[in-house]
């Protein structure tokens, strides 16, 4: 490993540690996302006719809730950098802008994974009429990990663009929803057979489209990181 890439990796670790330390010290993102998701599932439980769903409807409820919860996380992702001068302090150091963007994306990804570790069992308990065997559960987890990575990659860019604006709260949903609709729609297509009463399999093309979406936004994030952080 070259000294430059070792330094880059160390910077990402340092910045990711900071994100989790701040979240542990003053929890903001995770409790908000969790409370929102579980609250939405409870509302659906009482709002839907028999309170029990499967297939496409179950996928839709789970993923739309994920999208809305993610918006809360995206909105807070860059707040300390703007409000507490963290971005200026960072820009005085030799660390690369790509390291900061990567750390932010990893932080959001890890927050979403933790969200799903809690929210999906709550969803299954409150709403899901079907059950998943071990193989289906693995495929479901794989889809959700790819979905979360896509949301994190696109959301990090949106959060950075919105952070500098005065009306950040308005800008995040305006920018994020159109960008995230494709990944939510694809993930919904991918997981709905797994949530059917009698199970099903995920079509290979959905895996590919999800991985492609993630790859494109990770690449865009890396390419524009300097512009985002410096300007």
């Amino acid at each position: 490993m070259s000294a430059a890439s070792a330094g880059w990796g160390a910077d990402v670790r340092t910045l990711l540690t900071l994100e989790w330390r701040r979240e542990r010290r003053a929890p903001q993102v995770l409790p908000t996302m969790l409370l929102f998701s579980v609250g939405a599932f409870v509302l659906f439980r009482f709002g839907l006719q028999d309170g029990s769903i499967d297939g496409t409807l179950a996928a839709g409820v789970l993923l739309v809730t994920t999208l809305l919860a993610a918006l809360l996380g995206i909105g807070r992702l860059w707040s300390a950098e703007e409000e507490e001068g963290g971005l200026d302090a960072f820009r005085l150091t030799p660390a690369s802008a790509a390291a900061l963007v990567a750390a932010k994306a990893l932080a959001l990804w890890s927050f979403l994974v933790v969200l799903h570790l809690v929210a999906v069992p709550a969803f299954a308990f409150l709403l899901l009429s079907s059950s998943l065997d071990a193989g289906e559960l693995l495929r479901f987890a794989g889809i959700m990990l790819l979905l979360d990575l896509g949301i994190a990659a696109a959301g990090t860019l949106v959060g950075a663009i919105a952070a500098a604006a005065r009306s950040r709260e308005l800008l995040v949903p305006l920018l994020a929803v159109p960008l995230l609709i494709p990944v939510i729609a694809v993930a919904s297509q991918a997981v709905s057979p797994l949530l059917e009463q009698h199970g099903g399999s995920v079509e290979g093309r959905w895996w590919l489209v999800l991985a492609l979406y993630d790859g494109v936004f990770l690449l865009v994030g890396w390419a524009v990181s300097d512009g985002i952080v410096e300007d």
Partner: protein, 239 residues
């Protein structure tokens, strides 16, 4: 401070500005500023509130782009060569640039890691700024004076060649001001450190500067060595 290898004084000027202009929207915040500060020299920035002192410091720190004109810092053109000066410029701003929920030590260790500064430097600076007993306090729990000391410690972590100081002793009690003033003046191993200090104390500025720049509405109202400046000129700057 950890021992640093003695170095020869760099040949390039510490700061070189040529017709520097900075706009904010339609408004000119800095108008045609031209000056040269030799490496190791101290420039005092004076002027009333809103004169453009903090904007000039942000341009020198590489945090704002010049709208027109040339800005060279430590021999490098900004913003094109800004990566070459990162970690070599320390900027103590009005805002402390610290994470409020983290402790004093956590903030300094985080900054030291990104600056590639030895972590041992953190303890030395905590001692030098009198913050050892408060190292485990969250920054949010500190008074403004203690926050300013923490910010100063963070600024000095990488032993910067150029120090940009925006009212560095504001909010400090006399003892802390003397302690921090000495730390900011320190020139380890006789190696010259270039400094640009913005403030509202003309006497202090004239006493420690090699060059004084007075700004009024973003334009140069005064640029001279301290010995050549009269009380009337200082007075006119603030009228």
């Amino acid at each position: 401070m950890a021992p640093a290898p003695p170095a020869t004084a760099p040949a390039a000027p510490g700061v070189q500005l040529d017709g520097l202009i900075r706009r904010r929207g339609e408004r000119l915040v800095l108008r045609e500023i031209t000056l040269e500060l030799p490496a190791g020299g101290t420039l005092a920035l004076l002027g009333p509130n809103g004169a453009g002192k903090s904007t000039l410091l942000r341009v020198l720190a590489g945090l704002l782009r010049p709208s027109r004109g040339r800005c060279r810092v430590l021999g490098h053109e900004l913003p094109r060569e800004r990566h070459a000066v990162r970690g070599r410029v320390g900027y103590l701003a009005h805002e402390p640039m610290l994470y409020r929920d983290l402790t004093v030590r956590e903030n300094l260790v985080h900054r030291a890691r990104l600056l590639r500064a030895p972590i041992g430097q953190v303890d030395e600076l905590l001692a030098a700024t009198g913050l050892q007993r408060r190292a485990s306090f969250p920054v949010a729990a500190l008074s403004r004076g203690l926050t300013q000391r923490t910010a100063a410690a963070a600024t000095l972590l990488a032993d910067p060649e150029l120090l940009l100081l925006d009212e560095p002793l504001a909010n400090l009690d006399p003892v802390a001001a003397e302690q921090l003033g000495a730390l900011l003046d320190a020139r380890p191993f006789g190696v010259a450190r270039t400094r640009v200090i913005a403030g509202h104390d003309p006497d202090a500025a004239l006493a420690e500067a090699d060059l004084v720049l007075g700004l009024k509405d973003g334009a140069v109202a005064l640029l001279a060595a301290p010995a050549a400046i009269t009380d009337a000129e200082i007075g006119a700057l603030y009228r």
